[in-house]
Amino acid sequence: MLLEMDRVSVRAGEKILVSDLSMTLDRGERVGLIGESGSGKSLTALAATGLLPSGLTASGSVLLGGQQVVGVPDQVLDRVRGTGAAIVFQEPLSALDPLMTVGMQIAEPLARRARRNGAPITGTRLKEAVLELIDDVALPDERRIARAYPHELSGGQRQRVAIAMALACEPDLLIADEPTTALDVTTQAEILILIDRLVQERQMALLFISHDLPVVANTVERVMVLRLGEAVETGTVSEVFNRPQHDYTKSLVAAAKRFDAAMEGRT
């Protein structure tokens, strides 16, 4: 089992933000995490990697690649991080360091990963590996992109760079936290296709977070529906879509169907 979360809760002082959440993810598996804004999706992802912001505490048990994450000091986790899971964040603007070229930002995790694999790469070889990754996420003109600063790129391009940075870690699990929410519909579709392809090629597991049921449906096999920090429903995509059990899921599905109908009516 790649990721095993067992009755994980996240608290801010007395306030419970995620409660008793259990979930497992096998190698190569794709799971969607759905819920409205503020339902605790991002916190779940951060808890899974042990990266909750200070002030928040997790309880329960999280095994990532066999390593306990909850209550383990950073020094221990630093050594195993990167190989276990990598995250692509929601907000393409704050996902990249504004003062560092894109090439440098991809080179950083790439060099670290190579070092930890026991085969450090530097200089031209590192540069080539960076360009290769940029090419992998279907960005044109690798050399120009590598020299560019984040503000010189479009939102979609930035998100591709963020994906390249995640890939540089060669993670077993890719966590995509609403990677397309800030993008327009066309770009959104392109990024989804890209993630789909990369996950397949590299045989990564995928935890795909979204508030949008249809977006997830084509990308993942299983979904978990989150509401106010609680998992209200889990199952395969078709189960949840066709026989939603919980009222909240029903309303989500109905909204998705209305949206689909509206889209068809328009074209």
Binding site: L46, T49, L51, P53, S54, G55, D74, D78, R79, V80, R81, G82, T83, A85, A86, I87, F89, Q90, E91, L93, S94, A95, L96, D97, P98, L99, M100, Q105, E108, P109, R112, R113, R116, H151, A162, M165, A166, A168, C169
Partner: protein, 282 residues
């Protein structure tokens, strides 16, 4: 979009004026300060003219009450002001940035305690803190003045660093670096310091101006560098008794001090606008 395009050229011109004027004034002092290391018009301690002479070809701003050349002393004053400004900012930056970064990482109560301490320290005038530090060291010297001013400035730097660092630390690229296994020290040097540096450097320029003025005040009070270091503050103080008979002795160091302070502030202003332009891109 149109607004930025119309607005930015005039903005660009304005900041280049402040920057250039500042660089010119500061550059002048730097030039003079460096020159004193290799050449001086007179021996600053030799009695080379009559007492309290007015301006003449031999003595451009006259002589002091012992007949020493004032212009020579002013030139040395430039070097001392720059030394103290640079030294104090370096000391203040080192202590302040270190403390600020540590506070940004500290646990909640330690951070709160540090923040409160800094707020209290900042409420005291820089000069007062510097005076206390000088008083605590057994002998006033150039170095004790630098150390004292540096310590006095460090609280302001620490508070600013703490706030700026906290703002950077919540960014997703920090979490992304954490996920990929980057350690905290590495993140501080690669991401945090570069991102807070533009804003900090503007602040350092302002602190430099503060330090130069505070050093003159210390010297004026007799707590600065002792003779033979001809600090502007001491020249001013020595000229005080004879200000009606020989006003030049007081006016000249005043002008020197003000020109450097204004120069540094203009430079800071120009720098700030550059930083704003750059951060505006985000």
């Amino acid at each position: 979009m149109t607004i930025t395009q119309v607005g930015s050229p005039s903005r660009g011109r304005r900041h280049s004026v402040a920057l250039r004027a500042g660089a010119l004034l500061v550059g002048m002092h730097v030039f003079v300060g460096l020159l004193t290391l290799v050449w001086l018009p007179y021996d600053p301690n030799a009695f080379t003219g009559g007492r309290l002479e007015g301006a003449s070809l031999q003595h451009m701003v006259g002589t002091d009450r012992l007949g020493r050349d004032l212009f020579t002393q002013l030139m040395i004053g430039s070097r001392i002001a720059l030394q103290v400004g640079t030294g104090a900012v370096a000391v203040g930056a080192f202590i302040g940035v270190t403390l600020g970064i540590l506070a940004a990482f500290a646990s909640k109560w330690l951070d709160d305690a540090l923040a409160a301490t800094l707020d209290i320290l900042i409420a005291f005038p820089t000069l007062l803190i510097a005076m206390l530090v000088v008083a605590a060291s057994d002998q006033a010297s150039l170095w004790s003045a630098i150390l004292a001013l540096g310590i006095a400035l460090s609280a302001i730097v620490a508070r600013l660093t703490r706030i700026l660092a906290k703002r950077v630390l919540v960014m997703d690229y920090i979490t992304a670096a954490r996920t990929s296994g980057s350690s905290w020290p590495k993140i501080v040097f690669i991401h945090v310091l570069p991102n807070i540096w533009p804003t900090l450097s503007v602040n350092f320029a302002l602190q430099f101006g503060l330090a130069v003025i505070a050093e003159a005040s210390l010297s004026y009070l007799g707590l600065g560098a002792p003779p033979p270091n001809a600090s502007w503050g001491r020249i001013l103080q020595e000229a005080q008794g004879t200000v009606y008979t020989a006003p030049l002795g007081a006016i000249a160091p005043g002008i020197a001090l003000v020109s450097l302070a204004i120069g540094v502030n203009l430079l800071a202003d120009g720098l700030r606008e550059r930083v704003d332009d750059r951060l505006g891109d985000r």
